[in-house]
């Protein structure tokens, strides 16, 4: 479980996060939703340690990230997998080398064991015969799947996904969403997905935090979102004609 408590973050005069507190449950797909510029990505970056919050704390299974010494932080980071918006695969490495990268850096596995683990991860994300390809040779959906495979190669306890289906067609987006949910439940991972895609919310939203202008404006799950009376949430969720019809 991950808990964020009273997080504040400012960039110059811009107060991006204002007293955000939320619990992200293990074995569930936790979604952070909100409009562009609402502070979702900043929250996720504060959680993974890419930004330091001005005040407040992030607790990973009750240990505060800020209070950990550098060695413990690095140890914790090995338990974190992250799927970036653009995949963030290393251009100069093949798919196989990308997935084996954390294994090469942090484990003493033999080449055979690493190969088995890479093939297992690729099979888990439904990819075959791509081991020797470079990221530039992959489609958007394949790139996301390889990034997921890399993120799970070290058997993480926490998985962060920053807009996992941005730039994907609706069908592939659903495949990626379902894959994230399956992996979360299968390995009992605490997964945090940052998205503004309403299809994802309705598909995989077990536990949802809605951020509006840097504040937590609503929390609940995909079933309660439709009946919510929070105006900001309704404006965000039912912005399209399709969802308006759905509400009616």
């Amino acid at each position: 479980m991950i808990e964020v408590k009273n997080i504040h973050k400012t960039f110059g005069d811009n107060h991006v996060l204002k007293d955000v507190s939320f619990s992200f449950q293990s074995g569930k797909t936790n979604l952070v939703i909100g409009a562009s510029g609402s502070g979702k990505t900043t929250l996720i970056k504060c959680m993974v340690g890419l930004h330091s919050p001005d005040s407040g704390s992030v607790l990973f299974n009750e240990s505060s990230f800020d209070e950990l010494v550098e060695k413990e932080r690095r140890k914790l980071r090995k338990e974190i997998g992250m799927l970036f918006q653009g995949g963030a695969l290393f251009d100069y490495l093949t798919v196989e080398e990308n997935i084996a990268f954390p294994l090469n850096m942090f484990t003493t596995m033999s080449d055979e064991e690493k190969k088995d683990r890479v093939n297992f991860c690729l099979k888990r994300v439904n990819l075959n015969n791509v081991n020797a390809l470079y990221p530039a040779e992959l489609s958007g959906g394949m790139m996301k799947r390889v990034a997921i495979a890399r993120a799970i190669s070290m058997k993480p306890k926490y998985l962060f996904c920053d807009e996992p289906n941005s730039g994907l067609d609706p069908q592939t987006a659903i495949i990626i969403d379902n894959l994230i949910q399956e992996i979360t439940q299968e390995y009992n991972i605490t997964t945090v997905v940052n998205t503004h895609d309403m299809n994802s919310v309705m598909e995989i939203g077990d536990n949802i935090a809605f951020i509006h202008q840097g504040q937590l404006a609503w929390e609940g799950d995909k079933d309660s979102i439709v009946s919510s009376t929070t105006k900001e949430l309704n404006d965000f969720v039912f912005a399209s004609k399709l969802f308006k019809k759905l509400k009616k």
């Binding site: 090995k78 251009d91 942090f106």
Partner: protein, 247 residues
């Protein structure tokens, strides 16, 4: 001025991170070898072409200046050798490498930054500055002196060809000049300069790449800045080292 000091402070703090203990020595060693090939071996062709013509031009121009019956002709070979060893090979090649290697380093690291590859390394618990930059600096410092020594040899060959084929002086006279009053310390001086230049090129370019903010346009700007700053630092270092080692 304050911005300049801030920039220098940030550069020093980056160097502090770069020279911390590697997470996995085996992976780092492999990366150093890869960088030697990418930054060093792949620069051999351009270095050879430039050195060949540089040596030829130095010989022709020296030949024109020493066109006096009282000055022995072999001094053309001597002047070519001294010019190449003392100045043209280390400094000219460093400036060329600042353009070729420096811009390549800055754009590679800048692209890694804007495409979140550096963030990915950090989240994995890897010291990204050390992982990306350290092998580049070590590879440059180890390999650039070889490039400069090769440049000296090819420059002298260029001079020899220009002198003999252009009829400036005879083959034995040029060769006599090449071995006349040889001072091995000058080679040491050239290598020391090159080591400093290599460090400057690789670290400055890495610095601008590593702190790229924005998109593709920012990568281009970082690349340009890295070349400009590297060239200025090379010229200042050249002056200081010459003053310290030769005067």
């Amino acid at each position: 001025m304050i911005n300049g000091l801030k920039l220098f402070g940030l550069y020093l703090s980056m160097l502090g991170n770069v020279f911390s203990r590697p997470e996995n020595r085996k992976v780092y060693l492999k990366r150093i070898v890869d960088e030697m090939i990418k930054l060093g071996v792949n620069s051999l062709t351009i270095v050879s072409i430039i050195s060949l013509f540089m040596g030829a031009v130095v010989t022709i121009q020296t030949g024109l200046q020493l066109n006096n019956p009282f000055i022995p002709k072999y001094l053309i070979g001597y002047a070519t050798r001294e010019s190449l060893i003392l100045e043209f090979s280390p400094t000219m090649i460093a400036l060329i490498l600042a353009g070729k290697v420096g811009s390549s380093i800055a754009s590679e690291i800048g692209t890694m930054r804007v495409s979140e590859q550096i963030d990915a390394l950090e989240i994995m618990g890897i010291n990204s500055a050390a992982f990306i930059i350290q092998p580049k600096i070590i590879a440059s410092v180890l390999f650039f002196p070889f490039l400069v020594i090769i440049s000296m040899g090819i420059g002298m060959l260029g001079g020899f060809l220009a002198a003999t084929l252009g009829g400036i002086i005879s083959k034995p006279e040029f060769l006599q000049g090449l071995i006349y009053w040889f001072e091995p310390f000058y080679i040491f001086y050239a290598i020391v300069k090159t080591v400093f230049f290599a460090f400057a090129i690789s670290s400055i370019s890495s610095f601008f790449g590593y702190y790229t903010r924005g998109g593709a346009l920012a990568v281009g700007k970082s690349s340009t800045k890295s070349v400009v700053y590297s060239c200025i630092v090379i010229l200042i270092m050249n002056f200081i080292l010459t003053q310290l080692m030769l005067v």
